[in-house]
Amino acid sequence: MSGPARLLAGSEALAAAMVAAGCRFFAGYPMTPFTEVLESMAARLPEAGGICMNAESELEAIGMCWGAAATGTRAATGSTGQGLALMQESLAEMTLARLPLVVLNMARGQGDYFQTTRGGGHGDYRLPVLAPSDVPEAVAHISLAFEWAEAWRTPVMVLGDYYLAHTHQSVAIPQGPQGPEGTSQGALARPGWALNGSSGGTGRAKLVSPLGTAKQRDGLGGQAGYDLAVHYRACAERTEAMLHAIPPRVESMFLDDAELVVVGYGTPAKYLRAAVRELRSTGARIGFVRPVTLVPFPYAEIARRVRGARAVAVYENNTGQAVQDVRLAVNGALPVEFIGGLSMDPSGFGIAPDLDVRVLRERITEVAT
């Protein structure tokens, strides 16, 4: 159930959505364009009975969330690229410790696609990534992210940016916690694996660890010896299962007779969509595809949807990163051109000059002709 629509900045909407989704622990360190999310959480969370920590660094922010998550409290944190880089080690380890967490990656531009989708941390892990293109979708993604985080006991990332944080949009915030079962009560119950201190002295005290989530005698490695490889293998199988079970999401339009399919993700995809619409109104046979989940990336879906086209063009506001995933999806069946490029305002995180419908229309037309 949703509340009435209100005009909110993206950051405020994200914070409201997190509180509504049952997030009761948030820790962060100021960094544009993540800062306003932290401000909003500091304003909203205490009155909802939660805790918002002004951590002294990103390392500490994610560490605090690690502890909160281990007790079964719904926790979230976030940052922008540089701060996320500091968090990656813990993110990787929390994945191995099988702890749920929602991470807002309020990126500066689209330069962090690899950091976001390839992990950036050490070891063999993946975590789901959602890339909303506007504020209402971001709000929906927050509850989805908590749902996935808990169902798969993994950190889940929501990739936003400056535009998402600062755009005001009319948006309805869901009311009350939206648990995996859609019940308001169930969502806040602490899961059975969570630590509550009470199992000590029983011979079955719980352990939450990236080195193995069960004690030696609990069967993973057997009493004969602790075997880290057994744990890593179990984690890998879990990841594999998760990546198969989460249906990749794609948005597309005008594909029926498209000769050229344009691909983009995140908030810049809104500009791209507008450019495609305008070109369609002039009769150009251009289609549009937007991967909504970046992990798992919709490889098969994109391959299917571009079938019949003559070529694919990828726009992203960087020197070319997601274009590699699109090429993997298309797998040589069609030429895939990169029509994006590095473009940013002098501050480094404002509106990119190239992110302009007129500019995008020209680039698409160039490839189409």
């Binding site: 009761r24 622990f25 820790a27 805790i51 920590m53 951590a55 002294e56 660094s57 390392l59 500490e60 922010a61 994610i62 560490g63 605090m64 969330c65 690690w66 502890g67 909160a68 998550a69 281990a70 007790t71 409290t73 926790a75 080690e89 813990s90 380890e93 410790a97 630590l195 509550n196 201190g197 009470s198 199992s199 000590g200 002295g201 029983t202 011979g203 079955r204 005290a205 719980k206 352990l207 939450v208 660890s209 990236p210 080195l211 193995g212 004690k215 030696q216 005698r217 602790y226």
Partner: protein
């Protein structure tokens, strides 16, 4: 540097007159796997024993979460029969913060080595203390990165030989040791700060009292006990000589005692 204090040293190279209790006997309420893999003569199991016994004596066995850092003591995260979160090097005070803020009803403690806490994680413990976080942090201080093979840490004393200060730590090249307990005692959020050692039976006993007091005072603010432990392996000394080396070198710089006890009305740091 402070002058060497006369410290009672109990010889450890002779069998005790009475029947000894092995370290891995621990208290059955707190250990569910008997054996640990630490070196003979290591001080960490003795320190751990003091900690878990204190938890049991305070009746907190079933309302306690321990957060472990990375080091030789990490082995205990798999041995103890109290609930444990295994954290990354340096991050235990933050993880403990998240646990305690989410579950204020629990006793929350961290166990870290000196490399973990004073090198990689120095800012974490300082901020946790400054925030007055209601947790108890233990630093098992042997002046080396024992687990990686005996390298210099921030607490290595001048003249100490380690794998990367083979001629001994030299202040002009390697800087000066950090006395972490002294640093923490100055922070207003810290209510109890003490430094003990496990080189002698007397010091083990004193340290146990410090541990008990720190855990009890946790509800008033941040509490901290630094415990000097032997690492014969990392020190290039005979196992039997390690307690003597501890007393003569480590305790001479990292001097033992209660540095702050606001619960008891004392503020030694002021």
């Amino acid at each position: 540097m402070t002058g060497r204090k006369a410290l009672p040293i109990v010889p450890t190279d002779e069998p005790p007159a009475c029947g000894a209790k092995l370290v891995h006997d621990f208290t059955p309420a707190l250990v569910d796997i008997g054996a640990h893999q630490l070196c003979p003569g290591c001080g960490e199991p003795v320190a751990m024993r003091a900690i878990v016994e204190a938890v049991a004596e305070l009746g907190r066995t079933a309302s306690c979460v321990a957060v472990f850092g990375i080091g030789c003591s990490t082995a205990f995260s798999n041995n103890l029969d109290i609930e444990v979160v295994q954290a990354l090097h340096g991050r235990a005070p933050s993880v403990a913060t998240g646990v305690k803020r989410s579950r204020p009803d629990l006793a929350v403690l961290t166990v870290q080595g000196d490399g973990d806490m004073a090198d990689e994680g120095l800012q974490e413990v300082l901020h946790a203390a400054a925030r007055g976080e209601r947790i108890t942090c233990f630093m098992l201080n042997n002046g080396v990165f024992g687990e990686t093979g005996g390298h210099m840490t921030a607490t290595t004393v001048l003249g100490q030989r380690t794998k990367n200060t083979l001629e001994g730590r030299d202040s002009t090249r390697h800087g000066h040791p950090i006395r972490l307990a002294n640093l923490l005692a100055q922070l207003e959020g810290a209510v109890y700060v003490a430094r003990g050692a496990v080189d002698t039976a007397v010091n083990v006993h004193r340290t146990k009292r410090m541990v008990l007091r720190a855990l009890r005072a946790q509800e008033l603010g941040f509490t901290f006990v630094e415990i000097l432990t032997m690492c014969p392996t990392g020190w290039f000394v005979e196992t039997t000589q390690a307690p003597i080396y501890l007393a003569e070198h480590h305790a001479a710089v990292h001097s033992m005692g209660v540095l702050k006890d606001l619960e008891g009305g004392k503020d030694v740091a002021q």
